[in-house]
C-alpha cells in the first residue's frame, strides 16, 4: 500500500508519523473513520491526501494536526508520542510544529491581516514589536504586506487565503496542513495559492494538502489516496516537481 513510499523516504527525517492508527466514532454504533493507518511525513515533502467524501481524509487531517486523538495506534511528532501527552502539552506541540490552512480561511473577522497573523505568535513571550516584524515578514512572503491593516471583509477570497497561509508559516512549523485550500477560490486564485505552497517548500518543512481535487493533487510530489478509511495508494509523482 504505502510501504514502498515509506521505504523510499526512510532516509529523510520523519517529522510526523502515524503507526497503526484507527479512529472510531460512537460507542453503540461504532463508525470506523480510519482503519490501521501507518504513514510517515518527512521533511522536504510536498504531498497531498486525496479521496472522495467520507474516505476519512478530514479525520486524518484532524489526527495529523493533533486536533484529535486516535482510538488505537500511535502518532509521533518530533519522535514524541502525542497520545501520551496532556492537552496543554499537545496544544504547545501543535502551536510549535503545525501550521493550518483551512478551506474557509477561518480568519478572525475583527482583526486586521497583521492581527490575524500575529495571533499565531501570542503567548510565546515575544515582545510586541518582534511579533509584528515577524507577522509583517510572513505577509511579505505571500505578497500582502500592503494589505496588513485590512480586515478579512475588505479582502478578496484569494487574499484571505494568502493571509491564512502567512498565519500558518509565521511560526515556522515543521508541517503545514492545508484542508482544501483552493476549495473556495476561483481557478486563478487557486493556482496562485498552489504556487505559494510550492514556493514554501524547504528541506526543513513538509507541506500536506488534503483535497478532493485531483488537479490540485497533481501539483504535489506525493499523493496519498484514501477510500473507506484506508490508504488505497501512496505514490510519488513520476517526475518530482
Amino acid at each position: 500500500m504505502g510501504n514502498e513510499t515509506q521505504g523510499s523516504v526512510s532516509s529523510k527525517r520523519i517529522l510526523l508519523a502515524l503507526e497503526g492508527v484507527s479512529r472510531i466514532y460512537g460507542e453503540e454504533v461504532p463508525i470506523h473513520a480510519l482503519r490501521d493507518i501507518s504513514l510517515g511525513i518527512c521533511a522536504g515533502e510536498f504531498l497531498s491526501i486525496v479521496g472522495p467524501s467520507g474516505s476519512g481524509k478530514s479525520t486524518m487531517l484532524g489526527l495529523l494536526g493533533v486536533l484529535d486523538l486516535p482510538s488505537t495506534g500511535v502518532i509521533r511528532i518530533r519522535d514524541v508520542d502525542i497520545t501520551k501527552l496532556g492537552d496543554p502539552e499537545r496544544s504547545q506541540l501543535r502551536g510549535e510544529s503545525i501550521g493550518f490552512v483551512f478551506q474557509q480561511f477561518h480568519l478572525i473577522p475583527h482583526l486586521t491581516a497583521l492581527g490575524n497573523v500575529e495571533t499565531a505568535l501570542l503567548y510565546r513571550g515575544l515582545p510586541r514589536r518582534h511579533r509584528r516584524d515577524r507577522a509583517m515578514g510572513a505577509l511579505r512572503q505571500v505578497g500582502l504586506e500592503h494589505r496588513h491593516d485590512h480586515r478579512p471583509i475588505q479582502m478578496s477570497g484569494g487574499e484571505q487565503q494568502r493571509t491564512a497561509i502567512a498565519r500558518a508559516i509565521v511560526t515556522e512549523p515543521d508541517v503545514i496542513l492545508a484542508d482544501e485550500p483552493t476549495g473556495a477560490l476561483d481557478t486563478s486564485n487557486a493556482l496562485n495559492v498552489m504556487e505559494i505552497f510550492a514556493g514554501l517548500r524547504s528541506s526543513e518543512r513538509a507541506i500536506c494538502i488534503v483535497t478532493h481535487d485531483l488537479d490540485v493533487a497533481g501539483l504535489t510530489d506525493r499523493r496519498i489516496s484514501m477510500r473507506d478509511g484506508r490508504i488505497e495508494r501512496d505514490e510519488a509523482a513520476a517526475v518530482p516537481r
Partner: protein, 396 residues
C-alpha cells in the same frame, strides 16, 4: 508578564470588536451599582445636615447635671467644686467646665425694654473660665471672662450671639447691660453653641459676681460640660460615681449628640433593604453577563477553534473569556459608581441636601460588581475552553 499583557490585549480587542454587545453586557453592572450607590447616597444625603452637624459637634461631649441623691423636690442640687475637680482629673477627660443658671434676674439692654424682658427673661449663667474651650465654641468679638475678672470681682459679662444681634451690639462697642439693676460691662460675644441653643441668647458672668451680687454661697455649678475624646460613653457612666463618692451629691449624665446620632441612624433598615435590592440588581446583571457571554461563546466558536488550532491552550481560552468578564465588571462597576454618584449629586442639588457620598463605598460596590462579573464569567469561559477545535472548524 508578557502572557498577561497578551491576554489583556486579546480580551480588550474582543470587547471593542462588538461594541453593541459590550454595551449591553455593561448595562447590567452599571445599572446595578448605580442603583445601589444612588439609593444609599440619596438616603445618606437626606440625613447629611444631621451628619454634618454631628461632625461639627463631635460626639465626645458629656453633660452632667447635678442631682439630689435623695430625690427630693424643690431642692437646688449642685456639684461641689471639688467633685468637678475630680472629674477633670479622669484620664480620658481633656476639659471640664461648670455652669449654673441664676434665676429671677431681669436683664435689660436699655430702660424702656423693662416690660418685655420681664416677660421674656434672658438666662444669666454663672460659669467658670473654660466654657468656650470645653464647648469648642469661639469668641466672635472681644474676649471671654478671665482670671482678672474673677480676682477683682469686676462686673463684666459675655453675651450670646443671638442676644448680641437682639441688642444691636456692635463689635468692640463699649456697652453695659443691666442685670437686676446692676450694670455689667459687655466684654465679648460667644459664637453660636449648637448643642445648647439657649446659650445663644444668654448672659455669662463669673461665679465671683454670682456670689457677690446674687446671693450664691459657693462657686458650685449645677451643670458640668465634659470633653472626653476617648472612651466617651465609659466616662459618662463613671461620672456619677466620681461626683458622689458615696456622699449625698450626685449627677446624671448624657451625651447630647447621641440623640442626633440616633436620628441620623434611624434609616439603617432602609439602607439594608436598598443594599439588598441593589445586590439583586447586580445578580440579575451577572446573569445577563453569563447569558450574553454564553451566546457569544457559541457565536465565536470558530474563533475559539482557530485559536486552539494555533496552539492556544484550554486555560488560555478560559482566561481570555474570564478577563473579558473581569473587564466588564471593572468598567461596569466604576461607570455605575460614577452614574450613581451623579444621581446623588443631582438629587442633592434639587432637594437642597448636604451631599454625603463615601468614596470607600463607591470602591466597595465597584469591587462587588467585579466579583459578580467574575462569577458570571466562569460558566461561559469554561464552556469556551471545553469546545473541541475539530467540531468548531468543520474540516473538509
Amino acid at each position: 508578564m508578557r502572557r498577561i499583557l497578551d491576554l489583556l490585549g486579546v480580551a480588550v480587542s474582543g470587547l471593542t470588536a462588538r461594541k453593541i454587545r459590550t454595551v449591553l453586557i455593561l448595562l447590567g453592572p452599571i445599572l446595578g451599582v448605580a442603583a445601589i450607590v444612588a439609593a444609599i447616597g440619596i438616603n445618606e444625603s437626606s440625613k447629611g445636615d444631621l451628619k454634618a452637624k454631628l461632625r461639627e459637634l463631635g460626639t465626645d461631649l458629656i453633660v452632667a447635671n447635678a442631682q439630689d441623691q435623695i430625690g427630693g423636690f424643690g431642692g437646688d442640687p449642685r456639684i461641689p467644686a471639688d467633685a468637678a475637680n475630680r472629674v477633670s482629673r479622669l484620664p480620658d477627660v481633656t476639659s471640664v467646665s461648670g455652669t449654673h443658671q441664676l434665676s429671677n434676674i431681669v436683664t435689660l439692654p436699655f430702660e424702656e425694654a423693662y416690660n418685655y424682658y420681664r416677660a421674656f427673661p434672658v438666662p444669666v449663667i454663672a460659669t467658670d473660665l473654660n466654657l468656650p474651650e470645653t464647648l469648642d465654641v469661639p469668641i466672635v468679638s472681644g474676649r471671654f471672662l478671665n482670671r482678672f475678672d474673677v480676682t477683682t470681682g469686676a462686673r463684666v459679662a459675655v453675651i450670646g450671639r443671638d442676644l448680641a444681634d437682639e441688642y444691636g451690639y456692635l463689635s468692640g462697642e463699649l456697652r453695659t447691660i443691666e442685670l437686676g439693676g446692676k450694670h455689667y460691662g459687655v466684654v465679648g460675644v460667644l459664637d453660636y453653641v449648637l448643642l445648647e441653643p439657649s446659650m445663644d441668647s444668654a448672659v455669662f458672668i463669673t461665679f465671683a459676681n454670682a456670689i457677690a451680687d446674687w446671693e450664691e454661697e459657693e462657686a458650685d455649678p449645677s451643670r458640668l460640660y465634659i470633653r472626653a475624646p476617648t472612651n466617651t460613653r465609659y466616662v459618662a457612666q463613671e461620672i456619677p460615681t466620681v461626683v458622689s463618692l458615696g456622699g449625698p451629691d450626685g449627677a446624671n449624665t448624657n451625651v447630647p449628640t447621641d440623640l442626633l446620632d440616633a436620628q441620623s441612624q434611624v434609616d439603617e433598615n432602609l439602607n439594608n433593604l436598598t443594599k439588598l435590592m441593589g445586590g439583586l440588581a447586580l445578580i440579575v446583571g451577572g446573569v445577563g453577563i453569563a447569558n450574553v457571554m454564553s451566546i457569544s461563546v457559541i457565536q465565536r466558536s470558530s474563533e475559539i477553534g482557530i485559536r486552539r488550532a494555533l496552539g492556544h491552550k484550554r486555560g488560555t481560552i478560559a482566561s481570555q473569556f474570564l478577563i473579558e468578564a473581569l473587564a466588564v465588571g471593572v468598567i461596569g462597576g466604576f461607570l455605575g459608581a460614577g452614574v450613581g454618584a451623579g444621581v446623588v449629586w443631582m438629587v442633592s442639588e434639587v432637594r437642597d441636601y448636604t451631599m454625603v457620598l463615601s468614596i470607600s463605598g463607591l470602591f466597595r460596590w465597584s469591587l462587588v460588581s467585579v466579583g459578580v462579573a467574575i462569577v458570571a464569567g466562569l460558566y461561559p469561559s469554561t464552556k469556551a475552553a471545553r469546545l473541541e477545535p475539530l467540531e468548531t472548524l468543520r474540516l473538509g
